[in-house]
Every structure is written in C-alpha cells, then in structure tokens.
Amino acid sequence: MLLIILAVVAVLIIVAFALIYWGFFNKIIRQENRIDNSWSQIDVQLRRRADLIPNLLNAVKGYMKHEKEVLENVTKARTSLMSAKSPQESIDADNMLTGALKTLFAVSEAYPDLKANTNFLNLQDELSNTENKIAYSRQHFNDSVLSFNNTIETFPGLWFARRMGKKTREMLQIPEASREVPEVKF
C-alpha cells in the first residue's frame, strides 16, 4: 500500500516537472523569437529611411545651393547606415542620420520656396514618421530583451536556460548626445 502511494507520488512529481519544463522551454523560445522579430521590425524601418534619403536630396538640390556640407553629412550618415554590420552599429548610424536631418530641416526654414514644395513636405513627414517608428520599435526590442533576460536570469527559468544553452541578450543603447537638438547657425 505504502509502495503504491510512493510510486504515485513519484509519478506525479515527474509529470509536474515535465510540465514545468515544457512551459519554460516554450516561454524561453517564444521570448527569444520575439527579440529577433522586433529587430527585423527596426531593420525594415531603417531600410525605408535609407531609401527616402536620395529622394529628399533630389528635392532639396535645386534650392539649397550653399549648404553643401549639410547635404554631405546626410549622405555620409546614410552610407554608414547602409554599411552597418551589427544592430548597435545601425542604431548609431541612424542617430547620426537623425542629427544630420535635423540640421537640414532647420536650414530649410530659410528657403520659403522649398517650404512650400509639397513633395518636400511629404518627405519631411515620412522621415519623421520612420524616426518615430524606429524609436518605438527600439523600445519594443528593449522590452523584449528585458522580459527574455528576466525569464532566464530568475529562478527557475535560470535553471532551464542553462540547460538550453541560452545567454542574456544586449539591449540597444541610445547615446545621450543624440537626444540633443543640433545647433544651427545661419
């Protein structure tokens, strides 16, 4: 009788353990996939942003004859965005681009004809749209990394993660400097 009870208890413990392992295995995989998916979200927006730049340069070329340096900075930032290899490099290049564009849009205030150009206005909206989307997808990426790291660094997830060979992921850093508004001199 005692033996049967012990056997039942042992089976129940094994079943409970298997269920917990199953749950954590799926949770860890799901959260890791969410990180990868949110990175591809950022990537889509970065590409779209890079694609918009040549159109923008074309639109302003005719108007901004004396702002060669401003336009060159935008081109330079775009090139480093296109050639970025790691997520953090892409984000840094994008911050550079954001800064260069801010200067360009600030300078454009001095050209009333350009300000009245609907094509230019549309591009301006589109570019600030991609900028917001990058900010939010970066936030979502960091949220995803945070919940993944929390899962695999706290008990009992820690234990399963080690068996699965999972390591914590890095969040995307935003340099303090990129939050400042660039100075513009006319």
Binding site: R34, S38, Q41, D125, N129, N132, K133, Y136, S137, Q139, H140, D143, S144
Partner: protein
C-alpha cells in the same frame, strides 16, 4: 526604471481586480438561474436546461455585433491619407501598434465637434481605432499619441471581448428576470407551487425579490468592470508611450471642451469611447461607464 515598474504595478493590480469582478458576474448568473428554478418548480437544477441556452444565444448575438455594426452606428469613415492630419493619425496608430507589438488596426474618422476616440474589434488582427475630427483638430501630436496609446491598450488587453461577453451575460440575466416577471403576472408560476407550506412562501418571495434585483446588480458589476478597464488602459497606454503626460493633457482638454452641438451617433456605443460623450465628466456615480476624469488625470500625473 522606477517609473516603469510603477506603471507595471498599476497594470497588475487592475488585471487582478478585473478577474475578481468577472467571477462575481459568473456567480451572480448561476445564483439567478438557481433562484428561478426554485421559484418555478422547487428544483434549482431544472432551470439550467432553459437558462443556459438563453445565455448562450445572448452572448452569441452580442458577439456577432461586428466591427462594421459599431462603425456604422458611429457614422465613421476610413481615414484619408491625402489629408495631412489624418495621415499623421495613421502614422501615430502604426507607432503604437509597433510599441505594443501588435498588428496595425484600421483607422477611421468620425465627424464630430467632440474630442473623442474608441477602439473596437474582438481580436487584435481585425481591430479598428476611430477618432473624431474634433480630436484631430484640438489635440496636439503628443496628446493624440496618448489617446492612441489608450485605445491600443484596450485592444491589447482584449477589453472589447471582455465587454462583449459581459454585456451578453447582463442581457441574459435581465431576460431571465423578465420572463419570470411576466409568467408570474399571468399566473403561470402559481400552478407548479401547489402543495407547499408557508415557510416556502417566504423563501419564494425572497427568491423573487432577488431575481428582480439581479439585473440591476449585474449592470452595476458591468459598470464597475468598465471603469476598472479604463484605468487599466490609461496605465498600459502610459507604458506604451513612456509618457503619461500626453494622455493626462488630452483628458484635461476633453474636460475643458464643451461644444455646442449634440454628440452624434448611437448611445449604445458610449462605453467604447475614451470619455463618455453623453455625460458630464465631473460627477462620480456608480452608474458611470467611465471613472471621473479628474481621478484619471491625477493617477496619470502620479505615474
């Protein structure tokens, strides 16, 4: 970081309360069904046979009210990307969908002087966010973002689904109570209680009173859930934008905004809006679908 954790705590607390209230609702429904069974035949289980199909049909009917029904009740039209402010609105909704990690809802616009917005759709995949032209004109981009985050949170928290099912249960309770009332009026219930003594009569009176009061109580529970979900959408919206200020400012604008025209559209969709267009926001009442606007602003400011 400390700020973030606080918002998360708000969210967790609100979710727990909603579960408690939903369980209360289910218990109330079962109690009504049993009481009706007791009154009619002295057997509490018999009534399940007719009450369960009634409840099921009711919930299914409310469930089948599609996104389309709501949108045509609100006389809404799809947002036009050719108009700049509506294009920026579409962008904002997309931003919030990205922040929440959800598919993009369709964006609609309703012609109205009032600053308001609502979300509908039982699944995130076919959800819709609708904004009034008044909101587009009077809110700045930060405030509009706060409102969109609030609506996106309703979608994320499946509030529309919860409300639909609960409205169904409230309706079913009311219907059962009504059937009982009319059948007693026509003397239908008298026959089955023929051979009982006086003690039972008192019990039956109590049961009848309970069944009559139940729909009122069910409605109050529903309104309580509705208000809880509003607070929840406020705090999870603040979590999406990391900026409780945007929504707080928007609510302040809604509070100070008194258009002269009457709000358009059907009253039945009032609980969906970010603030009830048919009621003054100042008074607190257990009959409100939304919490008092000052309390909402206070909570957002403290995040």
């Amino acid at each position: 970081m400390a700020e973030k954790m606080m918002i998360e705590d708000h969210i967790r607390k609100n979710k727990r309360l909603t579960v408690v209230v939903c369980v209360m609702m289910a218990l109330l429904f079962i109690a009504v069904v049993f009481a009706v069974g007791y009154i009619f035949v002295g057997n509490i289980y018999i009534s399940l046979i007719f009450a369960l199909p009634i409840a099921l049909v009711y919930v299914l009917v409310t469930y089948s009210f599609s996104v389309h029904t709501v949108l045509s009740a609100a006389k809404a039209r799809p947002a036009n990307p050719q108009i700049r402010e509506e294009k920026l609105l579409i962008y904002k909704v997309e931003d919030m969908a990205i922040a929440a990690g959800l598919p993009k809802p369709k964006v609609y616009v309703q012609d109205s002087e009032y600053i308001n917005a609502f979300a509908t759709g039982k699944k995130p995949e076919n959800s819709v966010i609708c904004v009034t032209t008044g909101a587009l004109r009077k809110l700045n981009q930060e405030e509009l973002e706060g409102v969109m985050a609030h609506e996106m949170s309703h979608i994320q928290n499946r509030d529309i689904l919860i409300a639909t099912v609960i409205i169904g249960v409230v309706g079913a309770i009311s219907l059962i109570a009504e059937i009982l009332f009319y059948s007693m009026f026509w003397g239908g219930a008298g026959r089955s209680r023929g051979g009982r003594n006086d003690g039972n009569v008192i019990m039956i009176v109590i049961a009848i009173l309970f069944v009559i009061l139940a729909p009122i109580f069910a409605r109050l529970v529903y309104l309580m859930i509705s208000r809880k979900r509003e607070y929840l959408a406020d705090s999870s919206g603040a979590y999406l934008t990391r900026n409780p200020n945007g929504l707080a400012q928007a609510l302040e604008k809604i509070k100070g905004d008194h258009p002269t025209t009457k709000p358009k559209g059907s009253k039945t969709i009032a609980p969906l809006y970010i603030s009830n267009p048919f009621k003054s926001n100042a008074r607190t009442s257990i009959w409100s679908t939304h919490p008092p606007i000052d309390e909402r602003i206070k909570r957002l400011r403290s995040m």
